[in-house]
């Protein structure tokens, strides 16, 4: 079993990498702060290793329901004007966004 206790909880580089994944633009100060703060939470998370979890199934649904499905029947959609009225930018009844670079 992996035993992360021996390593430092979290590196500054990891925090910077995670910020990128999370689409957050953190300042240098925030990265420093989060490295410490998240590190201490992750430190306590290592307590979980004290429990023997061999063969224990994960809980994804507290109620344990299965096969909840609906009938394939069309329901009315919502009013387009109401939806678009909340959008930051709209053109031709569509949501307008800046160009997606890095594509071809």
């Amino acid at each position: 079993m992996a035993e992360p206790d021996s390593q430092p909880a979290l590196s500054r580089d990891e925090v910077a990498h995670v910020a990128k994944l999370a689409l957050l633009d953190l300042t240098e100060e925030e990265i420093d702060l989060f490295t410490v703060q998240l590190g201490s939470v992750i430190e306590t998370a290592h307590d979980m290793n004290n429990l023997d979890l061999e063969g224990v199934q994960p809980t994804h649904h507290p109620l344990g329901l299965t096969n909840v499905v609906r009938e394939d029947v069309v329901r009315p959609s919502i009013d387009r004007a109401e939806v678009l009225s909340q959008a930051p930018d709209v053109e031709d009844d569509r949501f307008k966004v800046p160009p997606a670079l890095g594509e071809d």
Binding site: K20, L21, L23, H60, H61, L65, T66, N67, V68, V69, R70, E71, D72, V73, V74, R75, P76, S77, I78, R80, V83, L84, E91, D92, D93, R94, F95, K96, V97, P98, P99, A100, L101, G102, E103, D104
Partner: protein, 486 residues
């Protein structure tokens, strides 16, 4: 029902040097033609006004929740079983990545517990391609890139329509078992045929309801290594599947042969230029952070459900080809086109109604494209009978058939109207005199007591007359004439 077989323009598909071998796996996305989307009651419809088939759920509005469409699951399981997959209990998972046409900024898909896994598909040529998995997921909305020269990279801005967001997809992932561009085309074509036979999708590549991504790598023939692969997207016809794969493979081969190597990346097929281009850069190296979707429950098919699904499966293209081949006395591959077009049932009906198998197949392949559904199998069989009985020549048959499709009339009426009458008795009498004079021995055998011989020689004389009249003679009249002279 007649459906277009998209073979695309007949353009150059480069060949692969003999010393290299392709290693190709295909990911095919098929939009399931349910009434509603995967997680909400919005209509699943192509071509509606932008952002009219949307609701809080498929727009990913804060606070909205998904509810699974039972019919989508059933379609997925049917397709899975038709692809010989094991259907297992599954859980939906979140695939986390951000893209503006994906409303929740995660795609609800399946990860380590897909509905269908470990299946296979046999191409008409008998090549077995293993299928790793066929999982359920949701489609994205549609972006239009405005400004620039039409390419995404030069666009000034993009406009998004979420009508397609949340439409159910089945993603069918093959193992990297495909070794030639032809096999890839055959695989896609066969898969499409199965989808159409099941009726779970209209599988139109040109409308995007069937989309093919190809993972392509090459290796020296005889080696079993797996080299760097590139994922080719944006392939929009079956012929392009072959072209894109062949072009990409040659690009790899060229690189290896000049001492370079390809880099793993996503590339887009440029139909007009006939080449692939680099696609989305992977600088944010993909980490999808999959985890089970907490807003949906696991799907656990019961044994009874699976039995019902197996029982409900229609005859699939492979079986249809075999049945038609048997009935018509042809090779299964010769039945491919008819089966692909969905005309196998019609062909079998026409044969059952007395039509000659080989001629039925010939006419369906060559002369009746698009016409099935405009005439009955019985009427068609009637025409084929006239032809084989010698009442119509093959050219005349074609002409009559074209008119039958137009007007719905019977073969006999149309032939009569066109003046394709069988030859008159007097004319035939003269011909027969000449034949008897030239073939006295044969005539003696015909007139003799040996019934077998007599029958055989009747065939001989009928054949000679048909040959001389180019099939215009009426077989029944010829038989009467022969018997009256016996």
């Amino acid at each position: 029902m007649y459906t277009t077989v998209d073979r695309g323009p007949d353009v150059h598909e480069p060949s692969i040097p003999d010393e290299w071998e392709l290693v190709v796996g295909l990911e095919v996305h098929v939009e399931l033609s349910t009434n509603t989307k995967l997680f909400c009651g919005c209509a699943n419809a192509f071509g509606a006004e932008p952002n009219t088939n949307v609701c809080p759920t498929c727009l990913g509005l804060p606070g909205s929740l998904p509810v699974m469409n039972g019919a989508a699951i059933e379609s997925a399981m049917r397709l899975g079983r038709a692809l010989n997959c094991t259907v297992s209990p599954s859980i939906m998972a979140r695939k986390n990545y951000t893209y503006p046409d994906m409303p929740k900024d995660f795609q609800t898909s399946q990860y380590d517990q897909p509905t269908n896994h470990d299946g296979w598909l046999d191409t008409p040529e008998g090549v077995r391609i293993n299928i790793e998995r066929a999982h359920i997921e949701e489609d994205t909305g549609k972006s239009t890139h405005v400004g620039g020269d039409g390419r995404i990279s030069s666009a000034q801005y993009s406009l998004i329509d979420y009508n397609r967001a949340g439409v159910p997809l089945l993603e069918i992932v093959s193992c990297p078992d495909i070794r030639t561009a032809d096999e890839a085309k055959a695989y896609v074509s066969e898969l499409r045929g199965i989808v159409l036979a099941l009726g779970v999708s209209d599988a139109k590549m040109e409308e995007g309801s069937m989309r093919v991504d190809a993972n392509v790598s090459v290796r020296p023939r005889g080696s079993d290594e797996l080299r760097t692969r590139c994922e080719i997207k944006n392939i929009n016809s079956i012929s392009s599947v072959g072209r894109a794969i062949a072009h990409e493979a040659n690009r790899h081969i060229d690189l290896y042969e000049t001492g370079e190597r390809p880099i793993q990346e996503t590339r887009h097929w440029d139909e007009e230029a006939g080449r692939t281009r680099p696609g989305r850069s992977k600088e944010n190296d993909e980490d999808y952070r999959y985890f089970p979707e907490p807003d949906l429950t696991p799907l656990v098919p019961t044994a009874a459900e699976l039995e019902a699904i197996d029982a409900s499966l229609p005859e699939l293209p492979g079986a249809q080809r075999a049945a038609l081949a048997e009935a018509a006395g042809i090779e299964p591959t010769e039945a491919s086109l008819i089966v692909e077009r969905g005309d196998a049932g019609f062909a079998l009906d026409a044969i059952a109604a007395g039509g000659d198998g080989a001629r039925v197949v010939v006419h369906l392949n060559n002369n009746l494209a698009g016409g099935v559904g405009k005439l009955t199998a019985e009427l068609f069989a009637g025409l084929v009978n006239m032809e084989t009985a010698g009442e119509l020549s093959s050219t005349q048959t074609k002409e009559v058939l074209a008119e039958m499709v137009e007007t719905g009339g019977t073969a006999a009426d149309i032939a009569a109207a066109k003046g394709f009458e069988a030859m008159g008795t007097g004319e035939l009498d003269g011909m027969l005199d000449e034949l008897i004079a030239n073939h006295p021995d044969e005539w003696a055998r015909f007139a003799g007591d040996d019934e077998g011989e007599s029958k055989k020689m009747a065939g001989f004389f009928t054949g000679q007359i048909m040959k001389a009249t180019k099939g215009q003679a009426d077989g029944k009249v010829v038989a009467q004439l022969l018997n009256s002279r016996k």
